[in-house]
């Protein structure tokens, strides 16, 4: 894998520091990190935890596609995308995307694009567990 790109699917808790350290670069002036955490509620329902399931081989491939595309569209020096699978409790980190660029505007755009695209194309599913039930997020209209 390209040494400017770090893609991980992890069954263990994510530490955002790993993605951040990966993208550190002596000619980076702007580094933007997105950290997606599990909220304690969605639409007024109290969430207990999330369960992420991935079609892992394809998810890694789609995540890499996003990273490669981002590197082509913006002057990205390094990009890390780390996503959890398995159970994530409220407050836990579900995803970290870190991008370094010479200038901050590019880093903001590239990072925002990457998380948008991740939510569209990467075969990862999440189930929200409530006190009184559970639901596969976004499955139904």
């Amino acid at each position: 894998m390209d040494k400017h790109i770090d893609i991980q699917l992890s069954a263990l808790p994510l530490d955002p520091v790993h993605a951040e350290n990966f993208v550190h670069h002596p000619s980076a002036g702007g580094i933007v990190h997105f950290v997606g955490t599990v909220r304690n509620q969605t639409q007024s329902k109290e969430v207990i935890r999330l369960e992420f399931e991935a079609y892992e081989s394809m998810a890694l491939k789609e995540l890499k596609k996003i990273a490669v595309h981002v590197c082509g569209q913006w002057p990205v020096q390094k990009i890390a995308i780390h996503h959890r699978v398995g159970v994530v409790n409220v407050g836990g980190v579900a995803v970290v995307i870190s991008v370094s660029c010479p200038h901050r505007k590019d880093a903001f755009e590239a990072c925002a694009y990457a998380i948008d695209k991740l939510k569209e194309t990467v075969p990862i599913w999440k189930k929200e567990i409530y006190k009184d039930g559970e639901i596969w997020v976004s499955a139904h209209p």
């Binding site: 394809m58 998380i115 990862i124 599913w125 596969w136 139904h140």
Partner: protein, 80 residues
């Protein structure tokens, strides 16, 4: 011919399992398979949409399925 269906997320719940071997007509496309699955599992039609992947790639509806292929049902994704 035989195909192996692999299901994730809510599709796994709907199919009552993550794997399923089916007999379908030779020369079937993804579109044909979709029709067969929806007839057999009407809950699939209540999803926002669902796609298919073969060998880690999204496949379009005209893709001609080959004997013994593994075909993955992808319900609406929700990473992040």
């Amino acid at each position: 011919m035989k195909v192996k269906i692999i299901a994730f997320g809510i599709a796994r719940d709907i199919l009552y399992g993550s794997e399923l071997v089916m007999e379908i007509r030779d020369g079937s496309t993804i579109r044909d398979l979709r029709r067969i699955l929806v007839r057999q599992y009407p809950e699939l039609e209540k999803l926002r949409h669902f796609s298919f992947a073969i060998e880690d790639n999204y496949q379009d509806e005209n893709y001609p399925i080959k004997d013994n292929q593994e075909i993955v049902i992808l319900p609406p994704v929700a990473g992040g």
